[in-house]
Each structure stands twice: as C-alpha cells, then as structure tokens.
C-alpha cells in the first residue's frame, strides 16, 4: 500500500492533468484542419500539449515524429506521477511492463517477416531507461535465440523458451502473445489482490477484465471467421485469463460453434450483442475501446481510489492519443471529417 500522502498527491495531480484533456470543441477544430502541419500548430498553440510540443516546428515536423512526441508526452506524465510513488516494486510499473511486452511481440512479428532491422526505427527510446532490458540491444536481435539471450535476466525468457521454433519454421506468435499477456494479467491481478482494498480491487478488476473478456470474445470470432478449423482446445489455450464473469456455458458455446454463423447466432442471443457493430456481429476495436473509455471516464470522476483513478487516466490518455493519431492519419489520407468523426472515441 502506498502512503496516503503520495496517494493524495497522485490523485490531485491526475485530476489536474485530466483537466487539460482535449475538449469536444478542440476535437472539432482538429478535424477541420487540412494538413498535418495545421494539426501540429493547433496542438502546439491551443491545447494541453502546448508545453510538450513547444520545440516543434509545425511546418517541418514529420507525422511519425508528432505521434512519437504525443506518446512521449503521455509517458512523461506517467513519470511525473511516479515522482510521488516511493515504493520499490510499485503496482504502477505495469505501464512499463505493458510496453516491454509490446516491444517483444513487435520484434517477434518482425522476425517472422524477416525484417528485424526495422525495429530500430519503431521503438520508443524514451521508455528505454525504465525498461528491464535494452531496446537498442533488442534492435540488434536477429533470431529467436538472440531474443532469448537478451531476455535471459527477465521473466520473459522462461515464458518464451517453449516456443522456440525448430529449423526454418515460424515462431508461434499467437502462443507467445497469449503467454506474455497471460503472465502480464495474472501478475497484475495478484498485485491487485495483494496491494489494494476489496473495493479498489473490484474496480481495477472490472477495468482489466472488461478488456480481456471482450478481447477473448473478439478473438474467438476471428478464429471462427478466418480459421474455422482451429481445434477447440487450441482456441481455449489462446484465451486471456479472466475472472469468469462470462458464464462458462456461453464461452463453450462460442468456442464450440462449428463456423462463424453459429458463433454469431450465439452472440446475438447473448447480452454481448450490444457491443457488436450490428452488421456482421464481429467485435470491432472501436467498440472495445469505447466501452473501456466510458468505464474509465466514470471511474476517473467518481472513484475514491488512487489506483483506479491512475489506471483510468492512463487508459483515457491513451485513447486521446489514439484519437489524435486517427485524426492525423485521416487528414493525411484525405478522409472527410465526418468519417474521421465516426472513428474517434
């Protein structure tokens, strides 16, 4: 448990940071922009990102760099909150762990596509100092063994060792992802149980479980749509750990559906149908993030628990950056602003 002093400080600082979020009016103004430079100028001059983007020259900044800087801003906000956290093994380290897993998975993807040299351009150098392994060294990895060697001192190596490919076969990305994500969520849940009160644990679990549950349903539907022959046991293995809020019977029905049509039928007759897009009943990222967004916004306003407010804020700020990225990409590719509007949360 943190001290109440740091609790209060973090809570106050988060509320102040959240006050600088983009307003509806600012989103509208952003969507009206015609070029990436205009978006950069607007973010720099008119929004809560002013200070973070003060060095930016809107006319010459690259879209990728702008997005990088926004992500860096989020991470810097995280670091500034961490100044008030005095525990060594903090629950809040989960943010860094999330990035570490993401980087490993990214490298596995690149190894499978034989393009590991591209990693160097993608990794977020600003997080490197906090991470358990060097991202720059990760950029030098050229095969699975190299990856295991790099991660040797981290718990990730043991998790991944079992998936070592034989000969020229590809690395089983899905299994790696499930193993890493399961490790992440299990660890998170243990920490939640150990460190927080029942009420806070309930709130935190709701946030994380809602995400994992919907992701699981989404994944099943994808299996059914694109790989209907996948054995049921295989699908079960690819499920992320949850608190079993969804009835097992329903999950079984979904997993054991012979094809996508049957799976859709099962979904239509369940309460989860409201989270689908109505047409093909496939979960879409948008809905998933929207549910998370609403849940977190509610918690950020009303929860008394610092941990809940923290997690909510980190998710909300991630959604905000995703929205800005969507707008930037929309503008870059000439998408009409009504269409962009539909895509942002």
């Amino acid at each position: 448990m943190m001290t109440s002093l740091s609790d209060g400080a973090i809570m106050t600082k988060i509320k102040a940071m959240y006050g600088k979020r983009l307003t509806e009016e600012q989103y509208r103004a952003l969507m009206q922009k015609k070029t990436v430079a205009e978006v950069a100028a607007y973010l720099k001059d008119e929004t809560g990102y002013s200070e973070a983007l003060s060095a930016v020259q809107p006319g010459s900044i690259h879209r990728g760099q702008l997005e990088n800087m926004l992500r860096k801003t989020r991470f810097n906000r995280y670091l500034s909150l961490m100044r008030y956290e005095f525990q060594k093994e903090s629950f809040y380290d989960y943010v860094v762990k999330e990035v570490e897993i993401d980087q490993i998975l990214q490298m596995i993807r690149l190894l499978n596509t034989r393009r590991p040299e591209e990693y160097i351009l993608q990794y977020p150098a600003f997080i490197e100092k906090k991470a358990a392994f060097s991202f720059l060294s990760l950029a030098n990895v050229r095969d699975f063994d190299g990856l295991l060697a790099l991660l040797a001192k981290t718990p990730y190596a043991n998790l991944l060792r079992q998936f070592r490919p034989v000969g020229a076969e590809l690395i089983d990305y899905t299994r790696c992802e499930v193993a890493l994500q399961s490790f992440y969520y299990t660890g998170l849940k243990e920490q939640i149980k150990k460190k927080f009160s029942k009420k806070t644990a309930l709130q935190l679990n709701e946030i994380f479980d809602t995400y994992t549950e919907l992701t699981n349903i989404n994944n099943i539907l994808r299996y059914k749509a694109y790989f209907p022959k996948t054995p049921y046991a295989e699908i079960r293995k690819s499920m992320l750990p949850t608190n079993d809020r969804i009835p097992k019977r329903f999950m079984d029905e979904l997993i054991e559906s012979p094809d996508i049509d049957k799976a859709r039928d099962a979904l239509v007759h369940s309460p989860y149908v409201k989270y689908t897009n109505g047409k093909d009943n496939i979960f879409i990222e948008y809905e998933l993030n929207r549910i998370r967004y609403n849940l977190c916004r509610n918690y950020l306003r009303f929860s008394q628990s610092t941990a809940t407010v923290f997690v909510s804020y980190m998710i909300l700020s991630m959604v905000e950056i995703a929205n800005i990225t969507t707008i930037i990409e929309g503008i870059r590719y000439g998408v009409p602003h009504e269409e962009i509007k539909k895509m942002i949360i």
Binding site: A55, Q57, G59, H62, Q65, N68, K72, L121, A125
Partner: protein, 773 residues
Amino acid sequence: MAIEKMSLVQLTGGMEILDETLERCLNVESFHPEQLSAFSGKIHGITQIVQESPYKATLSGMKDLAETAGISLPSWQNSNPFLHRDEIQELLAKCKEEISDTDREKKVLLQEIEKSAAELMQKENARGPNADFEDLFAQSYLVVRFGRMPAENLAKIENHKDNPLFFFSLRAENNYVWGVYFTTQKYRVQVDDFFYSLYFERIHSANHAADRDEIEGFISKFKDELTALAQERNRLQTEIEQSSSALVQIEHLKSLNVSLDDIFACKYVEVRFGRLPVDSFSKLKYYSDRMFFFLQFSEEKDYYWGAYFTTWEHRVEIDELFASLYFERVWIPDSVHGTPEFAKLNITANMEAKKQKLVDVNEQITKLITNNLEAFQRAYMRISFLNDSYDLRKYVVVYQNQFHLVGFLPAKNERAFTEHFAEVAGLAVEFKPPDSDKRLTIPTKLKNIRLLKPFEMFVEMYGTPSYDDIDPTPFVGITYMLLFGIMFGDLGQGVVISLLGFLLWKLKKMEFGRILMRIGASSAAFGLVYGSVFGLEHVLDPFYIKVLGLAGKPVEVMAASTINTLLVTAIGLGVVLIISSMFMNIVLGFKQKNYERAVFSNNGIAGLVFYSSVLIGIIARITSEKNLFTPVYIICFIVIPLLFIFLKHPLGKIAKKSKDIKPEDGIGSFLIEGIFELLEVLLSFVTNTLSFLRVGGFIISHAGMMAVVLTLTEMFRGSTSILVLIIGNLFVMALEGFIVGIQILRLEFYELFSRYFDGQGKPFISLTDKSNS
C-alpha cells in the same frame, strides 16, 4: 388565451409547379407540414420523392469556404428572396408610364423596353406561364435589374442624374426600397457598379439552374482567388519559418569558424543541416557502420541541432536513413554566404522583406474577402433557401404525376394562405376540418396575450397540451406572477429584476428575460404592500401615512401576529389553486368524454367532493367549533367519494358502456393496488396542501434575510455600509430569487399540473421555425 384553432390543408398540383409551391411554402407564415410518406407505402401507386438536394454540395462548399475566410453566414429569412411575377409586371407598366414623359435620349431606352416587353409577351405565350423574365431580358440589349436597396440611398440616384439609367421604386418596406433599374448593355458595368455602391441587393429570377450556375461560378472564382492568395501566404510563412530556422541554425553554428561557402563548395562531401529528435539521436549508435557522421552543435528541448556529413555516392541512402529518424532538415537559403555571422545579417534582411510581403498578402486576402462578403452572403442565402425548399420534398407524395402536400395551419390564416398560393397556376388548395384525417395528430399552437405568452416556455418545458386540451398557460402565468410577488415582495429588488429581464430580452433575446420582467413587476407590487424597498422596511412609511392616510404599512411581515396569518393564507391560497386544478381536470374530462377522469378519479368530482368536504369540516371545527363530521356527512361526503376513487377503473368502464369490467390482473391484485393507490391519494391531498406552506415561509425568510443584511449594514459606516447593503441585496436576489423561482415551478408542475395536465400533445412547428433552427 387558448389553443389556436387549426385547419388541415391539402395542396395538390402537377409536378411542374412543385418547386414554385415548395418555395412559397417556405415563405408562408405558420404552416406545419405532415410527413405523408409514412402512410404512402400502404397505398398502391403513391410514391415518395427520394432525391438528394442538388444544392447540398454547393452549400457545403460554401460553408467550408466561409469558415476558411471567416465569413458569418446569414439566414435566408433575413431577405426576401424573390419578387412575385405580377409585381414585376406591375413594375414594368409603371416604368412605361413614367418613361413616356422623359427626354429624347431616354426614349431610346423606352423603345428598348417596349421591344423587350413584346418579346416577353411573345415568349411567355410560347413557353407557358413558367417563362423566366430575367432570362428573356438577358437576350435583348436592355439590362434590367430587380432588387432592393436602403431607402436613404434613394436620394443619391437623384444626385447622379447623368448616369445612363432609369430607376423606378416599387414599394418601401423596413427601411428598404424595392425597385428596378434599366440600362443598356453598353453601360451595364458602370451602372451595376454604381448600384453596387448604393448597396443594391439584386434579386434573382426563379430560374434555379441559372442561379446555381451563376453562384457556383462566383464561388469557384472567389475560391480560386482566395486559394491562390492563401497558398502565397503559406509559401511565405514557410519561407519565413525556414529562414527563421536557418537563423537559429546559424546561431548554433556560431562556433563553426568556417565559411559556409567553403562547406557547400565541397565536391565529394554532402552536408545537411537540421535537427534530430533526442530519441532518434540515441539510435545513431545502431548505424555506426554507415557512411556518415553527425556533428552536434547544440542541444535544446527534445532536439539536437547539428549537421550530418556523408559522401556524394551515399547521400541517397543516408538521407533516407535520417528522414526515417525524423531529422528535420533546415534549408540554408542560397543567398547565404560567408561566415555564419555574415550569413545571419543576410538572412535577417531577406526575412524582413518576406515579412513585409506577407503583410501585403494578408491585406489582399482581407480586401478580397471584404469585397466579396456581401455577394457571398447573398449567394449563400439564395442557395440555402433553394436547398431548404428542396428539402421540403420529403413531405410530398406523388400519385399519378400529381403531388400532394398536407399540413396544418391556424384556421384564421386560411384566406392569407389561399392568396399566397393564388399565383401558382394549377395548384389546388383545399381546406378541411383538422380532424378529418384520423392518421394525423393535430399539432398544438398556443395562443396567449402578450402578458402571459412568455409563460408558454414553462408549459412546453413540461409538455405540449393536446389539441383538445385546455392551455394551462394563463393559469400558470397568473399563479406564477402572483406567487412570486407574494414570496419575494420587495419594491426595489422587483424593479431591479424587471430591469435585468428587460436587458436579457433586449440584448440576448432570452425568452426568460420576458418572464423576469413580469415577475419583477409583481414582486415590486407586493413590495408596496409589504412596504419593503431593498430590505428597508420603513422607507415607505411616510407614503402610507401622509399620502394614503393609513396608520402604517399595510402588512408588517415580521410581526408575530402576521406570521400565523401569512401561513394560513398561504395554505388557503394552495387550497384555491388545487381546487381550481381539479375543476380544470373535470372540465377536460367531460370535454374528452372521459368519465373516469371527470367523475371518479381523485382529481374528478369524487376527489373534489372528498377534498372540499374534509376542508369544510375542519374549517367549521376551527372557526365555529361546530362538528360537521356526523355519520351521515362522513358517509355521503367522505366514504362514498373514496369508494368512487377506489373503484374508478371499473366505474369508468361502466360509464363507457364497456362490458369487460373485470380487472385485468385479477381481483386480488386489483384490491391490493387499489388500497395502496387510495392511501397515496389521501397522503398526496395532505402533502400537496401543506406544500403551499412554503409560500408563507418564503415571505418570512425573505424578510429575515434582509434583516440580516441590514444588521450587517449597520455594523459599518459611510460608503462601506452602502457597499454591504448593495452586496447583501445582490446576494439575496440571486440566492432567494432563484430558490423562489424554482419552488414555484415545483408547485406548478408537481402540485397542480399533475392534477390536470398530460402534456402529450404535438407542438406546432411551422416551416419558418424549422428553417431558423
């Protein structure tokens, strides 16, 4: 003071007059169209017009352009978009009459007019009644412009008699003069310019396609010019930004004691100046085997300033590498020579020149926008009018090449409506009783005198009354003013509230301002009764004693004896209001032939008898110590009405002559529900009556709060005490004014409306209201 009587109107005509009809619909006062297409699917042969408005794209383009140019967009309701055809003919006749007496030179013009008129008649006969006047005139030598201009500019035409033109005014309205001017093609530009300078607003013909083409042409030209200037501005801004970056770069290069010319003169070495994000800088180690080196000059937040050097043959690869690392290259202008110090002076001078040019371009943009502003706004009004009229097609159904449009309008407007459409040849306008089409719900338009009209807002907040309901606005208006005055009686504060209301209404057009004006006046009137001015309770005493000859002020709120009277009077007032509401419910019940509501319900005759009997009994007991509650009295006036209320559903069904009087959910459920409902009814009679105690309570609390303010005022001296008095008054007005306002609304909605008002009606929304919103 009621609900406006309605008529159902059906417009029928051939498809060729659809556009004209719809345009006139937009201009007609109070017309509420109905969506017939909802029923059209059920009848064979009836189709709906489903077409995207052809004006939508132009309109959307204009909105975008207006936003870019910072032009405000007016509503077309602010202008009269076209003249009627007979008005044009009348105008022509008048012109001919007046020209006949003019000099020889102008007779040439007259001949042109006559020629055109003949042409007009001929072509009109040939083309039927839809011939386009302006189109015809455009073919002759003569130029005719219809339109309007500010009346004060009329005299200026007189001052320029030498101009080759005729102007004839047709009619004057709202500081504008409608008229027409004639000139020849030769002088067209000169005369058009002259009239433009007089703010002549040209009226376009009813030729939609021509209008759209003309407007699109204008918009495209305006957009092209604006875009060209905007591009020039952006180019200059970019160049200035680049120069500014170059300056910064050169500032960072100060430590470099080499002439830039020497660096750029290198034949085999390529150099790029710029800045690299800090995150990318750390990744350079990864590329240590590549053919480049990065020279870092200085560091600033998030970036390293510097230059990378590479060989000529590796330049493409290294440029790509640095681009992927988000290196922002700074272009050193060609004009830069010599050492950094020298180059700095050079760039500064160059940048200043560009800044001056940018100022010029910005001025040109402003001028372009100013020059086109009026024309743009006029074009926008025209296109948005055409778009709105096109949108009305959704209300239209077509059967055998005839369109049908149905809607409601106030019955008193029938004649004006017919006249408005009389000029559309081939259009049949048929009026019917409002309830003649059972598929349609008759919309409700409230009609109240000016004093009470603003209170319609409160009624609509709750719901719109049905067409056959009673309009509760007068009741709400009167009781609201009365209660507010009683609860917040203060002459000074009432006047201030009225003034505030007046300002809100005049400056912000807030409907609530008009309510404030009225309740402020009521507050002032009751302030006179209480003798209270800004909380000063005895300022008006001389007025009562010397002028009115009274012993003192009429009501002393804080006197111990008055407090009881006030509270009893408040309850008395509540009783009167509750009984009035019940009366209204009874009348409505009978009007709708709903006997359950009128006779048996707790707000019907049964409830009224019960409530008044109990009250009479209690009053008799208190005032004359006479006990009316005899067994007969109790059975007749209390038990039987309560039984009626208990059995209101089955009794209502019997009154309706319905055979099925059995409760739907069985007897048991009926009994339990009935008992609880009856208990609730009894309780609500008590609570609703006592609720009015707050009226008396607020009179006392107002006086109490002002007494506190005065005590505080007395604690200070001089100007401070006046300041405390002012702040105290403002505080009480803001706090108590709000609370009292909300409490009365609560009494109206909860204690009174719930007894007689359903608010299930459909509001009458005329097309003009819709377009405005």
